[in-house]
């Protein structure tokens, strides 16, 4: 399963594609079971240059209570910094962050790999 993420141009906020629009909560992200559909969504997102910066697909896994990004880096993006729990998306609290915070297992993020390639 995959989700499409990127950074919102105006403020750099981590955002996720959700049924054609971009939302800042991972819990509302559209999940792609089909790789071709995911790649098509990514290709389209790359044309939305006034909305989102550097969109890329992330792997998503099923965890207790819902879904979570596989990569630790992407879970930090979806929640906020672990040293300041009152900053970032997690500051608003809610069950969706409980799900993310209980997820474990980590993997390299395509976001980081592509960033380094582009340097």
């Amino acid at each position: 399963m995959k989700a499409l993420t990127g950074s919102r141009l105006a403020d750099g906020e981590a955002v996720f594609l959700s049924d054609g629009g971009w939302v800042d909560r991972f819990a509302r992200a559209q999940l792609f079971a089909d790789d071709d559909a995911a790649l098509a969504a990514e290709a389209h997102a790359k044309t939305q240059i006034t909305v989102v910066v550097d969109p890329y697909l992330i792997d998503v896994i099923e965890v207790e209570g819902g879904w979570a990004p596989l990569s630790y880096r992407e879970r930090v993006r979806a929640m906020g910094p672990t040293n300041k729990l009152d900053h970032g998306k997690q500051a608003e609290g809610g069950e969706e962050f409980e799900v993310l915070s209980h997820a474990h297992g980590a993997a390299r993020s395509k976001g980081r790999v592509e960033l380094i390639k582009r340097k």
Partner: protein, 551 residues
Amino acid sequence: MYRYDAIDKEILADRVAEFREQCQRRLAGELTEDQFKRLRLMNGLYLQLHAYMLRIAIPYGGLTSGQLRRLAHIARTYDRGYGHFTTRTNLQLHWIKLKDAPDILAELAEVGMHAIQTSGNDIRNITADPLAGINADEADDPRVWVEVLRQWSTFHPEFSFLPRKFKIAVTASPADRAATKIYDIGLRLHRNAAGELGFEMLVGGGLGRTPYLGPTIRQHLPVRHLLSYMQAILRVYNRHGRRDNIWKARIKVLVASLGAEAFAREVEAEWESTDKAAIDLPDTELARIRSAFIAPAFEKLPATSATFDAAKADPAFARFARHNVRPHKVPGYAIVDVSLKKPGETPGDCSSDQMDLIADVAERWSLDEIRVAYEQNLILPHVKLDDVPAVWKALDGAELATPNIGLVSDIIACPGLDYCSLANARAIPIAQAIATRFADPVLAEKVGKLDIKISGCINACGHHHVGAIGILGVDKKGEEFYQVSLGGSGEADASLGQILGPALPAGKVAEAVDQLVDVYLRERQDGERFLDTFRRTGMTPFKEAVYADAH
């Protein structure tokens, strides 16, 4: 401190206007991200995990109270009410919006600040000994020469697109408080046997994936030739640096591959063919810049203070005086270290309220000056001994008086995976866990001087290679792991750390530091720092303690 003149101000105003237009064009879609990225980076604006990050330059770590108040105001107005001081003595704001960036740069320009040379493959913001001008053992004030280099290098067309970023540090003291051996160029001002002022030129130091301590390529360069010699070094680098491979593009790789002697010969040949008189700074210009760094009007005071001595009856103040107060070259004055390392807090973070308080304290008691040290702490450079107790009380009320400068809880840590797009692992929580274990000031004092330095990736912003205990976050089969090294130093006795053994999981790192400290306390001989004991005993006892369970 150098104050921006009309020309400097005009340059900054033009730059802000230019970037404002570039931002507008980006938001309107007239520029793509690929086109815009290099423009925003030239203005210190990065895109990180949660938001844009603005890296603000603080040349030679020097701030006035007014400048620090402006930083507090910017952090409060445009960010989340705090900033992060870095190992390059810059200030990073981690929650910036693109639309606000031009307004922030305009606010910075009003107080003679900017974010130029904090990114890109140019000569980056130049650092210096934070005790410049106030310690008794320096040959000259290194800030004069940093300012010379800053004015020469800013927007220098030939050196704005180097093979890779380029960092310079300057010291004028035998005690290297600027870590000059780990810089692309480290400059050490000294006087030769004839009493002439010159630079020892170290070239090709650096950390990152392939760490090197910079070798000396010239023992004594007369100061009048600084700019022509710097040009020669940069021309050789520009000509031969590896633009084809980002991992081999830093000058350290060029110096290592040619060998320091061959590299030095290339530089000398280039320099000999240079019209030095056309490049070197005229004496009148040097005098103009030097006049910005004349010592403030110190009072004639007794060398000791009854008020200061009496305050030591309070054990908490006495401890602060032992660890956070250093001698000033002028009798009756002291240098006071402001710790940004309260155990459990994020190393280097400073809230807007704390910045305002430090600015007030500096205005009242430190001749309006603040310094930033690369260890991610602040310094009040000119405090009368009589006033130190009052300064301590004011700092203590804002949780800025932790008496731990140079001790085990004074940990350097980069922002790591909590903020940085390039990180592999978190650095801050590791630092918090270790510092919390050594939060008891009696224990920290018992352990003594111990530099712990943590980086969240191999880029080594947290200087882990030169930590007595260095900790590097790595991605091991997709999990956060930490490689521990021992025996590094970034000071006058510079050395690179040696890897202790297999990387440890996050939950084991603080415990491992405890075990390493226990070995040190068991093995140490009179007066030895952790580093000294390690250098005497070698790795074996430390390794045995941490990996005992594995046997």
